[in-house]
Symmetry: D2
Subunit: 364 residues, 4 copies
Amino acid sequence: MEIKMPVCFYFDLPLEADPINSYPIMDKKIGVGVIGYGYWGPNLARNFNETPGFNLKAISDLSQQRLDFAKSRYPSIDVFSNYMDLLNDPEIEAVALSTPTHTHFSIGMAALKAGKHLLVEKPLASSVEQARQLTEEAVKQKKVLLVDHTFIYTGAVRKLRELVEDGSLGKILYYDAVRVNLGLIQQDINVLWDLAIHDLAIMDYVLGAHPRAVSATGLAHPGKHESISYITVFFDDNLIAHVHANWLAPVKVRRTLLGGTNKMVVYDDVEPSEKIKVYDKGISVSSSVEDVYKMLIQYRTGDMHAPHINASEALRTEIEHFHDCIRKGEKPLTDGAAGIRAIQLLEAASLSLKKRGEPIDLNL
Amino acid sequence: MEIKMPVCFYFDLPLEADPINSYPIMDKKIGVGVIGYGYWGPNLARNFNETPGFNLKAISDLSQQRLDFAKSRYPSIDVFSNYMDLLNDPEIEAVALSTPTHTHFSIGMAALKAGKHLLVEKPLASSVEQARQLTEEAVKQKKVLLVDHTFIYTGAVRKLRELVEDGSLGKILYYDAVRVNLGLIQQDINVLWDLAIHDLAIMDYVLGAHPRAVSATGLAHPGKHESISYITVFFDDNLIAHVHANWLAPVKVRRTLLGGTNKMVVYDDVEPSEKIKVYDKGISVSSSVEDVYKMLIQYRTGDMHAPHINASEALRTEIEHFHDCIRKGEKPLTDGAAGIRAIQLLEAASLSLKKRGEPIDLNL
Amino acid sequence: MEIKMPVCFYFDLPLEADPINSYPIMDKKIGVGVIGYGYWGPNLARNFNETPGFNLKAISDLSQQRLDFAKSRYPSIDVFSNYMDLLNDPEIEAVALSTPTHTHFSIGMAALKAGKHLLVEKPLASSVEQARQLTEEAVKQKKVLLVDHTFIYTGAVRKLRELVEDGSLGKILYYDAVRVNLGLIQQDINVLWDLAIHDLAIMDYVLGAHPRAVSATGLAHPGKHESISYITVFFDDNLIAHVHANWLAPVKVRRTLLGGTNKMVVYDDVEPSEKIKVYDKGISVSSSVEDVYKMLIQYRTGDMHAPHINASEALRTEIEHFHDCIRKGEKPLTDGAAGIRAIQLLEAASLSLKKRGEPIDLNL
Amino acid sequence: MEIKMPVCFYFDLPLEADPINSYPIMDKKIGVGVIGYGYWGPNLARNFNETPGFNLKAISDLSQQRLDFAKSRYPSIDVFSNYMDLLNDPEIEAVALSTPTHTHFSIGMAALKAGKHLLVEKPLASSVEQARQLTEEAVKQKKVLLVDHTFIYTGAVRKLRELVEDGSLGKILYYDAVRVNLGLIQQDINVLWDLAIHDLAIMDYVLGAHPRAVSATGLAHPGKHESISYITVFFDDNLIAHVHANWLAPVKVRRTLLGGTNKMVVYDDVEPSEKIKVYDKGISVSSSVEDVYKMLIQYRTGDMHAPHINASEALRTEIEHFHDCIRKGEKPLTDGAAGIRAIQLLEAASLSLKKRGEPIDLNL
């Protein structure tokens, strides 16, 4: 799948001109190590193992049990309980990081300083400041930094972006995402950093617009992390986005509504096949009483179309893109800047949530 | 269906003791007139016509075409283009009002002053102040004032209330309602007063709790009414409610999630039969890494139960309740106070929406 | 909605050339009476009352309670407990019959002999022989005979027919209909004559093909009517149709699959809006092992399209068509021949069912 | 998960008393080889690799490409293009066979004669005669023969069996299964042997009843395999079962209805969480006209209950059961007799299908 860059970014890191485009094309496979083999690490390892351009060399984890499990799947790799041992292997040129969020900064900095290309599970770091330093270090080291905003690499989200970009929806009026299910109350991060970040990253990619302010509310039990959040993002030109993320819901919902003046879209990630439905429905402002009755009875006003969606595994596409970026010396689609933008929204939302919805301006 | 009163109201009108309980029991049918025969009026007329205790006597509307239509259905009734003619009929003891919201106050006051019992389509009036005056006038006239919060009379909402009241859900954590579809951009009122009011009224009845503040965001095109709104209502004891109302959605969603510490409920009004689903799911806070994996794989943690729901038409139940209240001289379930509470929330939400989510305290 | 005739009928009654086309165009409304005011009669009466070309004059039913109910709705009509009184009214030119099936023949014959146009609830009669006599009597009396195969007048079924007729599905491979729910075990007729007839009539209209044989199985408790039936209809050219009708199902299913060599259709009548979905999916015969894996992983192979469906009430469309046929002296779309064809299939299926699926040739 | 044997089998192979119960308990892992690494083989290999009691030793396949793929996943195993080399390895005590159906007999016989325990992908063989010989050879060799009727090992099917067995459904009236999707027109076998066998095996296990006759219809293009089939199975005591299997459907349906006199069940395997729904619905035979109206309006008559279903991977449960049977010398739940019973139904259905539904008696 060819990766096209979105047309507009609201954050532009004041960096030197493309720092990594002089990277030589290599013939041999890129040696890669995975740090953190908990929930997400096995998916990273499997995809690296099955992607021809990579050679999975090592896995590190604090738990010996997880290392034994990794070794049983990949008998030929090295396993380390200390990630520094992995970073010290000169044959490992790239590292994927899937450890708890609060460790991303220190391990990520160590990896970059050790001269490794870096793929980091979302969120990139625990704060905008940390994310910015990681991004700058990657530039300094001339290494690729890819943030694992996995959904950006799904066929469905790319189709959403395409529908916005080619103008077929008309002017976008709103973006509304719901991501709820019965999740684990995590010790490390709250529902914003765990679930809402997915939709904020998708929204950033699909809309390609510059947010101006954030208002958020939610449920924060004293002494515990937020488990429900409602985030409104205000853009220019009367566009709004809303994300509802909830760990305490009895059913799994993954549904995004995207309304334009010409057409409207439902993106339902729980649907096995028709994930994207485009409705030929618009807005009719009626002043006639008779029209009111007619409209209320005749609900649907046009056809619905569900385009065929590429069903490739998103993480595979992402890892192939990581490979291409390393080979060609290019910036990834989900680069450090994308990681920073997501965290800027999270920080503003967290602040607003504590103030019961008070709007927080984004000074970007 | 027997009507039980909710246990708690956060608004208590400083009225004299039950003003209408001295009303005599009558043997003959109650003469009733319907003012406004647009979208909702025909439903009111049909139910009055088919409810044994009422005698549909007259309908008034400004449109001669609507009156002709009414007359073709009910050849024996009187039709009036001036509602005052209807109010002057001494055989009409009760009036149902289904005219545009901004006329509720003046026509409603006229009806009460003419000594009629009054059923008013939601919202009760255009402001808290108007709603309060109508309520006080009903007390003064010793007449029944019923606000047509129709959903309160559905089997599904009554079951929700029952589940909260009998403690089977545990402590309530959150209430989350979505009511979206492609609606008509109305000239008269915005999406809060048209759609969100339904959920605010249901929430008021089901939770029976005292709201403390409101934060709302939404989409308000300049010079037009709001067509999308997100409303968070803050209660004491860390309880929150959220309502998403949207006229610009390509699909119809009517779904409420209600989370308790013991069980969680989905109320889906679009479902033809299983409108209420009770999930035996709770919250598990895990600190063990292995539990994390297990939890994420084993998603459902208990049984689901969909109780049988009474499928009687809500409006019929409501009109029978209106009849009983007139006969017995009792306050209806959805009385003037309920109408006022809903409008208090709408006014606070409208104000917050204009301030991009700034929380508005409710001084109730 | 304009009514087009299907291109092919497998049954052609040997009648004289169009016997009713000399009927004069009348200016005044057609007086109509409804015989049988049980479950379906009120729908007929309501639609006649609201269709401008008809004047609902009278209703007859054996039950005084039903007549009282009818009178309360339509105070100006006559009500009769003896249908002959209704037939004797010279101002009644057309009659709709919604009595139990076994009475259709005698009452229908009386109505035709009294010179009335006749609309008969499905099934037209209790046997092919009776249906044939009714059809012939209508020809003899030069009256319109319309069989109330209501679904033929829905927007969804007309769209199905259109998709077959214009060739967009390619060659039709199969027709598969499921119509199940928890129904009442009726005293009068079994599930074939109650439910399966709907799908056999739709199949007849949509395919426009000549059936050659029928095999049916089912559940027939001794001394009771069949409550489950599976009917296979064999056509020429390797086309088959299957109908599953079941009164003992816990859920309501109304789903038809229609497979063509180019495209495939799902018609789901329970869906509120997208009743017809056209899938751009074909058949791929693969001999390569690698293709097998690819196909099984990449399930969807094309887009899906849900055309906008006319949501008018089918019975209204049918009654307007009845009116037009009377006015213009034309044969209705669902004429006596259509009624006979449906009963031929029911009789063959009933016989096969008793013989545990033994195929019954249709000598049509 | 503990495996309980069903109470009743309609086929009892005239074998000697339990021939394998003298097998010694071993401490070391059981060496296992997989023959056939096409679509299903990788799932078998993965589960053997991850089940502690087994040691995956070798994989054989005719395709070098598939062997390379296997080796990349499991670098330490042996790979063979000739399955005899695998069978000659004395450290391999058990073999799983996932080759095309027509090869099951010859390879399976070779494996048993080589003294291997045998797990065979469904269907066990190409004919009852072959299946019987394989079963007898397993008895003779005192080896475990397990037929891979995978669904029997799902939590959902085990729950279905439990509901039938404990009498909570009442007397079973019917079993109705639909298994349709857009599949590949296979070169090797038709839709009966590919899809319908799943439901026949589930039906056999869940009902535990003795079928008496079969009627089947379907679509068989000349010179090609059947791609659509409708199979009715007749049991004693007025019980029927029906299976609809279709490779040419645009949507994936996996739904079974199971009707009892007390309760009814929907088993929907496409549902992510609530796969089994138990409806507290019965049959009401009404003779009153008024009841008819009431019944038709008040559709649901009781609660619905969705029990929590064990979500373990079925193949893992099956392979652990294979292990336990080898260790303890016990007959598996899906033994040779179950494999034979399924093929008896397939053979009868194939014959009936060619005769357009003529019923075929089963002489079992």
